[in-house]
């Protein structure tokens, strides 16, 4: 029996909202697939486009960036800059032909453990049929 493809996902979570929401999912003992490995950053505004490219270059099958809802950013407006910057990254990645489902952004607040769980489940489900990300992955 062929082993089912398990996508490898890197998630950038902002400390004050999304990482706290992810913690809440844990405290509530929710369950989601283990495909996502989280990296906690201070603010979604600190996500450089280089990180996204680096993740795909290192073989990530999916990249998630999650931050505070607009207006709720702990650092006031970092997420607004993230929204603009990462939209540009998304457009560029799609333009070069990367499957649009592979790069995702979400707003998850510290109270949204359920939402976070669902986002991960949906993400893994949508990535499985796409198979491994080979387009931008480094092969050497």
């Amino acid at each position: 029996m062929a082993e089912e493809f398990e996508p490898r996902i890197v998630a950038f979570l902002c400390k004050w909202c999304s990482s706290a929401g992810s913690d809440l999912a844990g405290v509530s003992r929710m369950e989601y697939p283990a495909n996502v490995v989280p990296i906690q950053v201070m603010c979604s505004g600190s996500i450089s486009p280089l990180y996204i490219f680096s993740a795909f270059n290192r073989g990530a099958d999916g990249v998630l960036v999650s931050g505070c809802h607009p207006g709720d950013c702990h650092y006031i407006k970092g997420n607004f800059y993230a929204r603009r910057r990462l939209k540009m990254v998304k457009q560029l990645l799609e333009y070069v032909g990367l499957e649009p489902e592979r790069f995702r952004m979400s707003w998850v607040s510290a109270a949204e453990g359920t939402k976070y769980t669902q986002i991960i489940k949906d993400f893994v489900k949508e990535l499985k049929p796409l198979g491994p990300q080979t387009k931008l992955r480094r092969t050497t």
């Binding site: 607009p70 540009m88 070069v96 387009k135 931008l136 480094r138 050497t140």
Partner: protein
């Protein structure tokens, strides 16, 4: 009609009075189908300057070199540099001013208007000439280029050999200048982003194949970076070859200098390099086309930067290179920025 004669008087005066260090302009090209950049230091050499449709270069890159030179001098000559710019080139100066890379007083801008036409695509022109060397190329009044060779004059419709970026021109006359020759005839392009329509219309798989074929050719010669006026960073983030070492750079920092991207020209690394460059030029590229012109492998780099120029305009209402006081694309935001892609 923009004529170099209009600017020569001023150029001579500036040099005679020592008001500028030198003037960067166009001179007659050795092959006839593309002008050469020239640096005029003496008033008597001003007559070497030309203006015709073969003046394809964006001379503003030399302003970057000038700043680097000044940075190394102990007592730099702070006089401005004169420069001949087309409409598109002048927008590059606006971006350099916006980013405080140069001061307004560092340049004396001699502008030329492309009026109803633009410059030639030197590769198309070369093909048309098929080996013949032209002595002169000028714009006629019936929307044609008049090419004079040893065998006489030929007329070619502008549309046949015009540079593709001129069809999408946003500024056919300089937006900033101290003196300008030619009329300020505004020409609104029919399709401001027409060149990428075809690529955008492809399916994701087709697009991937297109870019893979193109970017696999890249040998990482970095000609595109060297010729771009916006790529003025001392150290490129994808390429630590010239790691800027300061007096206080520790040994640990040097050893820790991670090359997150390899310099080898493999597909994955090439993609990262070009994507990073495109992202870093988002909201800064003015489509002078030099990167594409300089590329030895004919990679259609314009298509990459154009896409982000389009997104900047359509998603964020951001236009590059018209307003010096405008903040950079990524250092401002609007409440109305799209978030339909965010869950």
């Amino acid at each position: 009609m923009a004529k170099i004669e209009d600017l020569k008087e001023e150029a001579k005066k500036l040099l005679r009075e020592g008001k500028v260090k030198y003037i960067i302009g166009y001179g007659v090209g050795s092959n006839g189908w593309m002008a050469n950049p020239v640096f005029v230091k003496k008033p008597e050499d001003v007559d070497a300057l030309v203006w015709d449709p073969t003046c394809v270069h964006n001379l503003t890159r030399f302003l970057v070199d000038e700043k680097r030179r000044k940075g190394k001098e102990k007592q730099p000559d702070t006089r401005p540099v004169g420069i001949i710019v087309k409409g598109c080139d002048s927008r590059a100066i606006v971006v350099l001013l916006q980013e405080k890379f140069i001061d307004r007083k560092d340049v004396y801008i001699l502008g030329v208007s492309c009026e109803k036409a633009g410059v030639v695509d030197e590769k198309k022109l070369a093909k048309k000439l098929a080996g013949k060397k032209p002595s002169q190329i000028e714009l006629g009044d019936k929307d044609q280029f008049i090419i004079s060779t040893a065998e006489g004059k030929t007329e070619v419709p502008v549309a046949e050999i015009l540079a593709e970026r001129c069809l999408e021109c946003k500024a056919n006359f300089p937006v900033i200048f101290d003196l300008m020759s030619g009329d300020k005839t505004k020409r609104t392009p029919e399709k401001p982003f027409g060149s990428i329509e075809q690529t955008e219309a492809l399916s994701p798989e087709e697009r991937w194949n297109f870019w893979k074929t193109e970017l696999d050719k890249c040998i990482r010669c970095y000609a595109c970076r060297s010729v771009c006026p916006m790529c003025y960073c001392d150290e490129c983030v994808v390429d630590s070859i010239n790691m800027a070492v300061a007096a206080d750079t520790t040994a640990e920092e040097k050893s820790e200098k991670i090359k997150w991207i390899q310099r080898s020209p493999e597909s994955s690394e090439n993609f990262v390099y070009h994507m990073v460059r495109a992202i870093h030029l988002g909201g800064r590229c003015i489509d002078c086309g030099e990167c594409e012109r300089a590329c030895p492998l004919d990679i259609p780099l314009r298509f990459l930067n154009k896409k982000l120029e389009k997104e900047a305009k359509e998603l964020f209402g951001y236009e590059v290179g018209f307003d010096v006081s405008q903040p950079a694309l990524i250092s401002c935001f609007k409440d109305s920025d799209p978030e339909d892609f965010i869950r």
